[in-house]
Structures are given as C-alpha cells and as structure tokens.
C-alpha cells in the first residue's frame, strides 16, 4: 500500500498565480493599485477598498515567526511527529501558515519573533509549497 500522502492543494483560477509563483521559486502576494493594501490569501479584489484593480508582485520572502504549535498527535498524513505548524508574518504585512525547515522542532529552537526566509519544497511537478527557514545573518 502507498504511503499516506500529505494534503495537496488544488489551485483555483483565483489562486493559480500563487502556485505558479512557488513553482518558479517566487512567493507572490497581491497589492491594490488603488489603496496599496497588501493581502493574502489570493483573490482578484482588494479586501480593504473593494477595488478590482490589483497587481501580483514578488514578495521579499522575509518575515518572522508569529506563533506555532508543535503537533504530536494525531499527525497529518505524510508528516512525522513532532512537527511545527507555524504562522509567519511576512515583511509586507500578511501572515501565512507554513512549516519551519532547517531548525529543530522544539520550543527552545523555535523562538517567537525569530527572523525567517522563504524556501520552496517541491511536492510534485505541479505543486511546490512555500516553507520557511531561520534567516541567515
């Protein structure tokens, strides 16, 4: 029997640019052309002023650890516990859920507010996930 698979995102027309971005090694956010509000998750209008004129841009990929849990049980399919489920606050403002790599999954190593930078984890030919690692320097 095949190993249980990690949950795999299925893009919609509104989110395709985000998943195209991660595949190309870019973390893409959206900014409102009218009021400059930056937001996530993707949608083709501004959640602040309702304008439909919005642009996709490449984010810096920098952020900090806003909060997390270290999940022990039950573990999601495709994950080996314990593993951290993190919320990262991006330099551009929005927050996103992710995982922290290249770092022990312990309360001692995972310090709130630690600086992070984006990395990309290929799931398959179509989907690459944005994950984060402790920032260098």
């Amino acid at each position: 029997m095949a190993e249980p698979q990690r949950a795999r995102p299925k893009p919609t027309p509104e989110t395709q640019h985000f998943w195209d971005g991660t595949k190309a090694g870019e973390l893409r956010l959206q900014r409102c052309d009218a009021c400059a509000h930056v937001y996530f998750p993707p949608r083709p209008f501004c959640t602040s002023c309702a304008s439909r004129k919005v642009s996709v841009f490449k984010a810096s990929g920098k952020g900090f650890l806003y909060s997390y849990v270290i999940n022990h049980r039950p573990a999601a399919p495709g994950f080996t516990p314990p593993y951290a489920i993190a919320v990262v606050e991006l330099a551009e403002g929005p927050r996103m859920m992710s995982n922290i790599i290249d770092c022990p999954q312990t309360p001692e190593a995972l310090e709130l507010d630690m600086k992070l930078e984006v990395a990309f984890q290929k799931l398959d030919d179509a989907i690459t996930l944005p994950v984060f690692r402790p920032a260098k320097g």
Binding site: R6, A7, R8, P9, K10, P11, T12, T15, W19, F40, P41, Y66, S67, Y68, V69, I70, N71, H72, R73, P74, A75, A76, P77, G78, F79, P82, Y83, I85, A86, V87, R95, M96, M97, S98, N99, P107, L112, L123, L129
Partner: protein
C-alpha cells in the same frame, strides 16, 4: 432586540451523555428534542419553528414529524446554537413563529450516522492550511496561544489551572465525564498533543445532544418550569482560517458578539453572576475574559489561577465542568446553554446561589465565529 421578550421554556440534554454506541446522530437529535418537549409539557405539533446545525432542518424536522413555518440552518460551528437562540428570539418577536425548538446532537465519539469532516483541496483552507500538517482541532485551535502568552505574560501553569478548576466543578456534577481531581502537575505531565497544549488542556470527545424550546415571554409563565429570559444577544464571524485572524492577541468575533450582548442586555460586568465560556481548549476562557471586557488580558491568567472562577469564587465559570471535563461532542455550545438555563432555573448540580444573570459565550470553528447570550430569571 428588546430585552426579556422571549424565554426558554424547555431545556434538556440527551438521556445519556458520553459514549452512546446504540444511537445514531439523528436519533440523538430526537432523544434530546423529546426530552425538551417533555420538559416544556408540549407536544411535537406545538412546535412551529425549528433550528439546528450540521444536520439540515429538513432532515431533523422530517425525522421528528415537525411542520415548521420558520427554520434556521445556521451552521457556524459549536456556537451555532447561540446564534439560533438569537435568531429565534427575533423570529418570535417578528411573529414568524410562536414556539421554536433548537436541537444539537453529535455522535462525536461513536461516529454513528455522522459524516466525517472533510477539507476540500481547492478550498482556501485546503490550499493554504491543510498542506502544512493541520489535522483536526488540536493542531489548529492552539496555534494562537504562544503569541497570546508572550504578549500578556501568561504562564503554562496558569493555562494548566484552567483545567484544574474546571475539574473541581465537574466533581460536583454526576453527569460529568471526568470527575477525578487533578493538579497542575497532572496537567503539565499529561500526554503532549500540540505544544504548548497537553491532553488535559484539550476537550473531551463524546456523544450526546441537547435541545431548547423558546416562546414569547408573555406565554412563558404558563409553562411548568421557571422561565429563563433572553436578556441580550450578539453574534459575529471572522475567518475559517486560524492563520488569517486579524491578531492572535484577541478574537475579533468574540469582541463583536460579547459587547453586543452586554449592550442589548443593558448590564455591566459586575452584574454577571454566572459565566460560561466555551472551552474547547484551555486558552478560550482567557480570550473570553479579555474580549468580553471583564478585565485586561494580562490579568486573565492570574484571575483563574488565583481561584476566582472555582466553586465559591467571585465569578463562577464553566460550572458544569466545561468541554474539558463535562462533555464535548464536537459542537459544545448547546451544553454551555443548557448549563446557563439550569443555573437560571436554580437546578444546576453545582448551583451558584441566587444567580440572576448568566452570560453564555460560544465559539465556532477555530475562533471563526462567536455567539453570546445573556440570560436572566427576572423579568
């Protein structure tokens, strides 16, 4: 909405609570409904309004043989029943129906006749949370806790005391699932579930249900039980994605719903004799105390750790033992409402002496939704 125009005249839980392997989820709805009908001295044909969550109104109405002129299928998680109470009170006041039955039931443990929860891979949750290993409420609901603790200086011991105090209340309740006393050390040494939370800081998983019957306050005096009036109500939603909450230092849905209910009731915090704050996990009473404006967030941990919410304390909270020790079938809001009604009727197993005002505050999803009801036994 005008205060005290609608009252609870029937309230009951399922005959059994806990592990009920001989009943489907739909039959648990019926068991709770029939118990509430009997409590109110009514017949099923007297019910002309109906509300429920997860199961559809048509499903439960057909099963029970009810022919409603008003239904509400609001399904926003565990606080759906608070919203049903609010909507039912408005419907009764507007003359859309006279006698509303609200049911909840969940075969949360035995999983009989219950659809498993499913996150579609093309939903926003499916794309932007599920791939990172969230798997059920214990992996999601505690995600804000570490930020909340850091911001306000809340300690692990204070969060452990939430479970300790609620077990003290549960010990007084014959129907509580867990009654053995526990200590802070017991909590902090229990099995790790999702750091920082351990087993005893996570809700139970049980089977059960409950039902309420509401009618106009003018009719309420003709019923067998002491009427429990709806004094104030509030509701709101924020986001189905815990990662997208505006902040982890509070809940926006709580901060909208709670103050709305207080304002409508025309009460101050010092007027509250009894408080229920839906405790799926140990941090919720702290968020609730802060978001409802009882005290600054920094004081919520010490307020509970110092014993203010335990039996004999100045603000009794979660007097049935809560979702941590009483029962938690998955959508606990109905059981919080049942305990508020018992306290207002004066028949709770751990009765708060002379309680006249009870606030019942619920959460849906992972801080996704909220509903608050202020009850009183004086018109």
């Amino acid at each position: 909405m005008r205060r005290n125009q609608v009252a609870v005249v029937g309230a009951a839980e399922t005959t059994e609570l806990g592990v009920i392997p001989n009943m489907s989820q739909l039959q648990l709805h019926a068991d709770a409904a029939l118990n509430a009908i009997a409590d109110a001295g009514l017949k099923l044909c007297d019910i002309d309004g109906f509300a429920t969550a997860v199961e559809t109104p048509q499903q439960v109405c057909h099963y029970l043989g009810i022919k409603p002129t008003w239904v509400d299928g609001t399904s926003v998680g565990g606080c759906s029943f608070m919203l049903h109470v609010r909507h039912a009170a408005a419907a009764i006041e507007a003359g859309l129906c006279k006698t509303v039955l609200i049911t909840h039931a969940e075969s949360g443990k035995s999983m009989i006749g219950k659809q498993p929860r499913f996150t579609a891979p093309d939903s926003l949750n499916g794309q932007f949370e599920a791939p990172f290993g969230v798997y059920g409420p214990p992996s999601m609901f505690p995600i804000p806790v570490l930020r909340f603790m850091k911001t306000y200086g809340i300690t692990h011991e204070q969060l452990a005391m939430v479970a300790v105090v609620q077990r003290e209340w549960a010990a007084k309740n014959p129907r509580a699932m867990m009654k053995e006393p526990i200590t802070i050390a017991d909590v902090l040494n229990s099995r790790m579930i999702a750091y920082p939370f351990r087993l005893l800081q996570c809700c139970l998983v049980t089977d059960g249900g409950g039902a309420l019957i509401l009618t106009s306050a003018d009719r309420a005096k003709d019923f067998p039980s002491k009427p429990v009036y709806i004094m104030g109500t509030g509701e709101s939603v924020e986001t189905p994605m815990v990662s997208q909450m505006g902040t982890f230092n509070s809940s926006r849905a709580f901060k909208v719903a709670g103050p709305l209910a207080f304002k409508e009731a025309g009460i101050a915090h010092g007027d509250v004799d009894h408080l229920m704050i839906y405790d799926a996990f140990a941090h919720l009473p702290l968020f609730g105390l802060g978001d409802l404006g009882f005290m600054p967030y920094e004081e919520t941990g010490s307020f509970i750790a110092d014993g203010n919410t335990r039996p004999g304390g100045k603000l009794p909270i979660n007097t049935n033992g809560g979702g941590l020790s009483y029962m938690h079938s998955g959508m606990y809001g109905m059981y919080a409402l049942q305990e508020s009604v018992r306290q207002m009727r004066g028949i709770a197993p751990a009765q708060v002496p002379n309680a006249k005002i009870s606030v019942c505050h619920g959460v849906g999803g992972m801080f996704a939704a909220s509903g608050t009801i202020v009850f009183t036994n004086e018109r």
